[in-house]
Symmetry: C2
Subunit: 601 residues, 2 copies
């Protein structure tokens, strides 16, 4: 048998010609294939001698789900990898290598977990190994925690495929050693601008688990609506969009449990003190300010909000902190994660002009600044957040609180800052200042960009001919979307967010999240805007965007991602398609460059 | 009773304060409301003394469908119109006017149709009148044709709403005189780049009918795939994406019948001689050229296609015309419309270098040009298209055949040209040259723009910092979408495509179509990319984008369109949402300008 040695689908040197068809996403950190070919799979049982403590049922349920997906889907890879073809006028041909068929069918999964009790929290060990040999008759999985075992299952789910004739097979021998590069790998959903039903949130969790993403950042409310039932203040849901568009406590617990069963943390966000009107105003109209002001983008000197509708918590009024504390306490009793996101973005100074408490506070001492006001918020709110949260509580905020013109003077270093502006520049600034950072740079990771603006009565669209000069609003420009263009999966995957950081600074980057703000999103489009782009982020955070030689492997991700998109849809996650199906069926035929290393380090 | 006189939802001076809640889309040409308020609706029967010839069943079915939609949906308007509020610090208040309740319930629809036999073809009379008075007990509808009657039904469907307590009501008295501004009002779907299932095509037809759009332009195939079963050459569907992704003759007839029952014409397109590879090559590989060439966007001097994969019909090879003729004949036997679109766009000269027939033809006479080659195509193909099509056949082509550098010398004036480039400039050029035109300007009406590029191995995304200067590719630029940005509904609605035309030229504009090219579209996103934006085009083509005073009524369309989006979803058409629901519930709160006439003539 003579094997050509080429660059395989995983960027490793593998014996190819007839390469293995499976191409799991995210690519594992280390995977080694033999060449003896697939063996059959039969009624696989999970065998484990370990106790997983209170996670025993979780791991059995996860296996049952995995096995059902394998058997029900009978997946045949929708896109396979191959070298870029040689086109006319040069004739092409490819030999095939016959493989020996292994005799032993796989009949069990042998699972070994070291610490069955480890909780699903930031930094938990998610590593696993997976091994199949021709004669073992089983898939051997080891993991330190059940959360690593879940990842092994979702890998296995992609390794076992149908032969197209009703038989399940697995390529072997194969040995995988795997662990994520980053501990925090997530997406953000926004249920304040538009309501998302629980089933659609669960669909996102399915996508997260399959992509080995492990965080659902839930931006619960915003000025526009307040969907969460709060025990202390049931009147807050008067500002839900309707009586059907409410999350009961049971709904929230259901989402958390569903996510936990799939290894996904749910981090709640109540955005404060900006982005606050709905809900709060039902408790006491005095704890919010400027809620009935004109947002005034047309007269910028009077603008009170970056988008309709306006509203901010009144930072000086004492009762604000009482209500904030009770809401935070009620939600902390529901959400099980140690982390809680308390907002802190986009404070608008003009909004505070509508508060007599604040204008009087400024009048009392003319030396006071908006920075002092931001600091006042932190000084009064953080003790509440820390006190209720307990010793394990970790707070997360948007970078604005530290980095904006009107930032607070002293932001404690244990607050995790989420960076969304100025790409590499802000990440450098935050990490150099000693903060742990979650990367959500809008130029790379905002999934809502590029759909024009949502604001109405906008005369900028009423232009018949290109006014000329360079790129303009309606002609190649942003067309009303402040963060245009739409971020392609290639754009997301190529992002080297630790470029220019020192080793010490890079350690402060805990991971990344792709936010999907929902001004123009509800149940109809949440999944197609989220997927499969978030899965490209998933791989980048799990095993990186480069191959062993340091070359960017964006082009090698192509077929893996095209197959994975079809797999998501088959699993009920309504991901958008990315290409004419022709591209999926003809590897590299839709490349922009014939040179396969056009995307460079 | 004292009524304020304000600008009502339809841009008419109506007695308002408590304005009528219904706001049908498209706005009728003429509508007059009284102020005596809604009356009940009970078990409405259709009564008609006319014969509608062979359309008797069609009109009864249409009524049954309309009545079912009314009763099943029990629609309560999701967005209602109101004047822009006065914001703080000025207090606001709105009085209410009590209305007299009318005694007589509506129990029937009295339909009168002048010409029941009129066929659904370009230019058929679509006008109707609709009247309800307090004492008539019936809705009176008159129409010249059944196609006008169908439009009356879809209007009535939006006039009858639920009172939220289980009762159906209709605002009255009301009198509507209505007819479209343009005869040709459509969208284009592309089933060549990706397959769209029949149910999803029918969903688009539902949206068309509700929006009073009347043309489905079906771009059937492209180089990437050939989904249509062709009786003469069953082997062509070997180039369908799979055996499930095929349109049988029965499928195509089903789409046509479903559309006809809803007043929608189906115009087929087989794009020739460019965009041709799949299907054709299964009949005879010699009738297509350059199909196995590298598309070579990276080496532009050798590019053979504007996108992967390459392929064009061989214009000089004789058998090409035999095969084209048989395919065209088979499809003409299925599609019932007098119009047939035969493509004609984006011929790539380099592709012809791969044909020995064509290179020899050029060598025979060095004076020959690519213009001569385009003319050769017309001279040989048009007689076939006209001959098979019969005396009523009208051919439609993309403007390229007349307007490009390599255009044909002599394009017959009876060919309808579809304009997609250079906005007003090309429309002026084509109409001044005497051609009838369908407007599809890509800067205004392309619904697929703004989703980045689909081509892979694209290093342009691999940029970490803004290279600066003006707007750049990844930072406010097109991000890989050649026709970026995404076209907002405001952009579409504002388009004055007859600006700068003489009256004679304007008469040559028969209407418009919004194309949705499907490189990045399949069943998952076709409806959300199409709707509700196509409905904004629908109103613009039906009753225009200006009010009686000539002012653009884009801002007045807002609440009508936001309600209509919810109505589409309620009717099973999966339209995307446009705004936070807050905007829908608070008229004008999300306007960019407080000045309601910011969008100008």
């Amino acid at each position: 048998m003579k094997c050509a040695t080429i660059l395989g689908p995983l960027g490793l040197l593998v014996s190819a010609v007839s390469a293995v068809k499976v191409n799991p996403l995210p690519a594992p950190r280390n995977i080694t294939w033999g060449s003896s070919g697939p063996i059959p799979i039969r009624n696989v049982n999970l065998r484990t001698s370990d106790s997983h403590g209170h996670n025993n049922a979780l791991i059995q349920n996860a296996w049952d789900r995995t096995w059902s997906a394998i058997v029900d889907l009978q997946w045949v890879p929708a896109a396979t990898e191959a070298p870029i073809p040689v086109f006319d006028p040069f004739p092409t041909g490819a030999g095939k290598t016959k493989r020996a068929s292994a005799a032993t069918a796989v009949r069990s999964v042998q699972l070994s977990v070291t610490d069955g009790d480890a909780d699903l929290q930031h930094g938990v060990d998610e590593s696993y190994t997976l091994e199949v040999t021709a004669t073992s008759g089983s898939v051997k999985i080891t993991a330190h925690t059940v959360w690593g075992a879940l990842h092994a299952f979702t890998t296995l789910q992609q390794l076992i495929i149908s032969d197209g004739k009703g038989n399940l097979i697995i390529e072997q021998p194969v040995k995988i050693q795997d662990a994520p590069l980053y501990a925090h790998r997530g997406v953000m959903v926004d249920t304040g601008r538009n309501f998302i039903t629980v089933p659609k949130i669960l669909e996102q969790i399915d996508g997260l688990a399959l992509s080995k993403l492990n965080v659902l950042h839930w931006h619960l409310d915003d000025t526009q609506s307040w969907p969460m039932q709060i025990r202390s203040y049931p009147q807050m849901t008067k500002d839900a969009y309707s009586t059907r568009e409410i999350y009961t406590e049971a709904d929230m617990r259901r989402v958390i449990a569903y996510a936990r069963a799939r290894g996904v943390r749910v981090i709640p966000e109540v955005d404060m003190p900006s982005h606050s009107s709905s809900g709060w105003k039902q408790v006491d109209p005095n704890i919010v300010t400027c809620i009935n002001s004109w947002w005034s983008n047309d007269d910028w000197s009077k603008h009170t909000a970056v988008e309709p509708n306006p509203g901010q918590l009144d930072i000086i009024y004492n009762k604000t902190y009482e209500v904030v504390g009770n809401v935070y306490k009620d939600l902390s009793a529901i959400f099980t994660d140690n982390w809680f996101h308390v907002g802190g973005d986009e404070l608008q100074n003009n909004c505070f002009n509508f508060s007599t408490y604040i204008t009087e506070w400024f009048a009392e001492d003319p030396s006071r600044t908006y920075n002092d006001l931001s600091q006042y918020w932190l000084d009064h709110a953080l003790p509440i957040f820390r006190g209720t949260g307990g010793p394990k509580r970790r707070l997360m905020m948007w970078e604005d609180i530290f980095i904006n013109t009107d930032a607070a003077h002293n932001v404690p270093k244990d607050i995790v800052l989420q960076s969304w502006n100025n790409g590499l520049t802000n990440i450098k600034n935050l990490t150099a200042s000693g903060y742990d950072v979650i990367v959500s740079s809008s130029d790379f990771l905002y999934l809502d960009c590029g759909f024009a603006g949502f604001v109405t009565n906008d005369p900028r669209y009423d232009v018949m001919t290109n006014p000329g000069g360079d790129v303009t609003f309606n002609f190649g420009g942003n067309g009303g979307s402040w963060c245009a263009p739409y971020k392609s999966w290639q754009r997301i995957y190529d992002y080297d967010f630790t470029a220019n950081l020192t080793a010490a600074e890079a350690k402060h980057v805990l991971g990344a999240e792709a936010p999907l703000w929902s001004e123009q999103v509800d149940d109809v489009t949440i999944s197609s805007k989220m997927w499969p782009r978030a899965a490209a982020l998933g791989e980048m955070l799990w095993s990186g965007n480069r191959d062993a030689s340091g070359q960017k492997r964006t082009t090698q991700l192509t077929q893996r991602l095209l197959n994975f998109r079809e797999y998501l849809v088959a699993n009920g996650v309504m991901a958008t398609n990315l290409v004419p199906k022709y591209c999926l069926q003809h590897p590299h035929a839709c490349d922009l460059y014939y040179n396969q290393t056009a995307v460079s380090p």
